[in-house]
């Protein structure tokens, strides 16, 4: 692996994604190393605070894929400001 970067993100999963192996796909398809620090996954909703290590391009693609799947991706700090 070349240079790697680290991202700290909070993922929020809507109901229809709780059952899917999202994290597994992220590791396997994008070659990202994942370290889950805290999580709360219920039957119909869930979130995970995690650290991702990987090549910058891989992280970008991974995050893009997550968003396309419908996962909400926020910085660990959240308080996402809006218009």
């Amino acid at each position: 692996m070349g240079t790697t970067t680290r991202l700290r993100l909070r993922l929020t999963f809507p109901t229809h994604l709780v059952q899917e192996p999202i994290v597994y796909r992220l590791v396997k398809d994008f070659d990202i190393v994942i370290n889950i620090r805290r999580a709360d996954v219920k039957a119909d909703h869930g979130w995970m605070a995690l650290e991702l290590d990987g090549e910058p391009g891989a992280l970008e693609r991974g995050v893009k894929w997550l968003k396309e799947k419908g996962v909400q991706v926020d910085p660990i700090e959240r308080d996402v400001i809006s218009p």
């Binding site: 620090r37 308080d79 809006s82």
Partner: protein
């Protein structure tokens, strides 16, 4: 007096030295300032507080500031007003307005948090402060940075209206307009906060910054004569203010400064178009579902609030509740407060008044108990919300007869 133990993780309890850090390296939970209450008890008294300045700094012993106050010496100690006209209109006995629409210097309660954050930034030796914001926070950071002779970087989404930007630009910060979605502005700011050694008031200084909100709660209690009201209604965005007002009450109680029981119930007020915290409360779930905001209450438009869970817990723990307000109800709330009490608040205040009205009308808040409504921002900053909503005034020629006629017309209209 050694009053601080440094920081402590709110989730796992790990301790950290007092540094500009905000996330627990172990569990990514939020860090909080840890006080030595045993050392404060008996030292912080009603008398010691009353002997302090007429500003939020009369509670300096309960704030995470070790040295001298660097900026914002006149922030806070805003009026607590007995709002009898509003009470009559709402059909209640005792209503109070805590009026931070006149907080010095930038007309919102954000001056309280920023005064602490910028003082801390100086204490830690930073030469630059920063924030991501679209409103009150931007104004306040730019103003206090100017006073403290610090550089400031304010990050905003590029397509913000010019009017909003003006009240920030006037203080001469570096305003960075980011071309991208709001999502991207946020992620960028968290990456910038990681990379540059700047004091991001609501990122790496957040544990200190948020403590400033406690002074809003301290003042309510002191101004009520060291008693607590039965109900406090708080506008929520990130969800920090409501948790800190409650923390303030608990601290004063623990220090023995409040007579009698503290049975205050805390209520969250949010817009219908961005109400993830109130939705949690109404559904009685600790799961926050992020929303895409769509409301005129832009200062409250945080779709994924960091302290949403703690705000929910605060209402639950105190036996309070939450209420949404539609855009129409927000305007009505602003107009109601202006018409009854002569106070022009911004949309966030409209949200709070509207939510209070609903909580009373649905019987959640009993009419005979004491109520404090938190008014946290000034209406003159966001007049856009009212454009086209108010009746035209009377226009006449400069003659007495023209006026007489206009007056007669008005009387017949209202008759």
């Amino acid at each position: 007096m050694e009053k601080l133990n440094g920081l402590r993780c709110r989730e796992c309890g790990r301790r950290y030295p007092g540094a500009p850090v905000h996330v627990c390296e172990f569990c990514f939970g939020p860090l909080e300032v840890d006080y030595r209450y045993d050392a404060l008890k008996g030292v912080v008294t009603r008398e010691s507080i009353a002997a302090g300045p007429p500003s939020m700094w009369r509670y300096k012993d309960l704030l995470p500031v070790d040295g001298d106050v660097a900026v914002g010496h006149h922030v806070g100690f805003t009026p607590l007003i007995r709002a009898q006209n509003l009470a009559d209109e709402l059909g209640c006995r005792e209503v109070w307005i805590k009026n931070d629409s006149v907080c010095h210097p930038s007309w919102s309660f954000k001056d309280r948090v920023v005064a602490v954050a910028v003082t801390k930034a100086r204490e830690f030796g930073f030469d630059t402060v920063a924030c991501a914001s679209t409103g009150n926070l931007a104004n306040s950071v730019a103003a206090h940075a100017a006073e403290g002779r610090l550089k400031s970087f304010i990050f905003i989404p590029a397509d913000l209206e010019q009017g909003k930007i003006l009240a920030t630009l006037v203080y001469n910060p570096t305003l960075v307009a980011v071309h991208g979605t709001y999502d991207e502005v946020n992620r960028l700011c968290s990456e910038i906060a990681d990379k540059y050694r700047w004091a991001f008031v609501n990122v790496n200084l957040r544990p200190y910054y948020s403590e400033g909100s406690k002074t809003y709660g301290f003042e309510i209690v002191e101004q009520l004569g060291w008693r607590t009201p039965a109900h406090i209604i708080v506008p929520c965005a990130g969800g920090s203010l409501i948790t800190k007002i409650w923390k303030a009450i608990k601290e004063l109680k623990a220090l023995g400064l409040i007579d009698g029981p503290t049975a205050t119930k805390m209520y969250a007020a949010q817009a219908q178009g961005c109400g993830p915290i109130v939705t949690m409360i109404k559904n009685d779930t600790d799961v926050l579902v992020p929303v895409r905001p769509s409301t005129i209450a832009k200062s409250l438009a945080i779709g994924n609030p960091a302290d949403g869970y703690y705000a929910y817990k605060t209402t639950k723990e105190t036996g309070g509740y939450g209420e949404h307000a539609t855009d129409e109800e927000i305007i009505d709330g602003m107009l109601l407060l202006a018409r009854t009490e002569g106070i022009f608040t911004e949309t966030a205040g409209g949200v709070t008044v509207a939510a209070t009205r609903k909580l009373i009308e649905t019987g959640v808040i009993p009419r005979h108990e004491s109520i404090v409504i938190c008014i946290t921002g000034n209406g003159l900053k966001t007049p856009d919300a009212l454009y086209g909503r108010l009746d035209a005034h009377v226009k006449i020629k400069p003659s007495l007869s023209a006026f007489d006629q206009a007056l007669a017309d008005l009387k017949s209209q209202t008759a």
